[in-house]
């Protein structure tokens, strides 16, 4: 987590945990305040692609 950055501005991200299993975050979001962009964590996998690359 401490090495992850917003792929657009390289700024810090705020973690919001929705569900956890033991220590692992299963669902949640990483939020960049500067870009006002959310990066989803789904099934334990952070999706750090900027929105235009997601699909």
């Amino acid at each position: 987590m401490e090495i992850l950055a917003c792929p657009l501005c390289k700024g810090d991200l705020v973690l919001n945990v929705q569900s956890k299993e033991d220590a692992e975050i299963i669902t949640g979001t990483l939020y960049c305040k500067k870009c006002n962009e959310y990066y989803p964590i789904d099934e334990g996998i952070p999706n750090m692609l900027p929105p235009h690359l997601r699909e």
Partner: protein, 200 residues
């Protein structure tokens, strides 16, 4: 689920993700040879997670991987490799914190009409001359590799091995060929680069 067993690792593979082949085996061998216990290792474009999984099965290392293909990310995670979905280094802070960075770039010269449908294209498409991904990788690399850190890159004679060596040297990497193998119509090599001290 189809799988490959190699050097203590059992790796599943799925449709839409590059199936481990000669290049993957060569890179895994080289990585296992050079990695040391406790290293912080990043693999870019991990695919099934094959190379990282071989490292994990044999060494106690701190692993992280990325891929842009959502099926690859899932597959690598299922193979026990902590993987995030990202485009190369874009999701990491420039902390120069990795002891080893590994990349098997897509290297086939690819025109618009050569592209394969879907996410699998990312496993092959090296741009018009096959070097687009390697260039982007080398450009970003020095912000993430620690001083004296090791980079391992798979390069094909289709890309041009001497060319790749001189590009790596140009980025301040002391570069040498660590393994090579003739493979049908091409020669595959693993290039090792060590980051020399930069100008302070």
């Amino acid at each position: 689920m189809p799988h490959i067993t190699y050097r203590n690792a059992c790796v599943e593979f799925v449709d839409d993700v590059y199936e481990p082949a000669e290049d993957s085996f060569l890179l895994a061998d080289a990585a296992l040879d050079l990695a040391k216990q406790g290293m912080k290792i990043l693999e870019i474009g991990t695919g099934t997670g094959f190379v990282a999984a071989v490292l994990k099965a044999n060494l106690d290392v701190d692993l992280l991987a990325t891929d842009i293909n959502p099926y690859a990310v899932k597959c690598a995670c299922n193979n026990g490799v902590p993987t995030i979905r990202a485009d190369m280094f874009s999701a990491f802070k420039s902390l120069k914190c990795f002891d080893m960075i590994i990349f098997n770039p897509p290297y086939l010269p690819t025109l618009e009409e050569d592209k394969v449908p879907g996410w699998l294209n990312y496993a092959f498409d090296g741009g018009v001359d096959g070097t687009a991904s390697l260039h982007r990788f080398l450009e970003g690399l020095v912000s993430y590799l620690c001083h004296k850190g090791i980079v391992l890159v798979l390069v094909s004679s289709l890309t041009g091995i001497e060319k790749a060596i001189s590009w790596m040297e140009g980025y301040g990497l002391e570069t040498e060929v660590v393994v090579k193998e003739k493979c049908f119509f091409e020669e595959l090599v693993v290039l090792k680069g060590i980051l020399k001290a930069g100008p302070e």
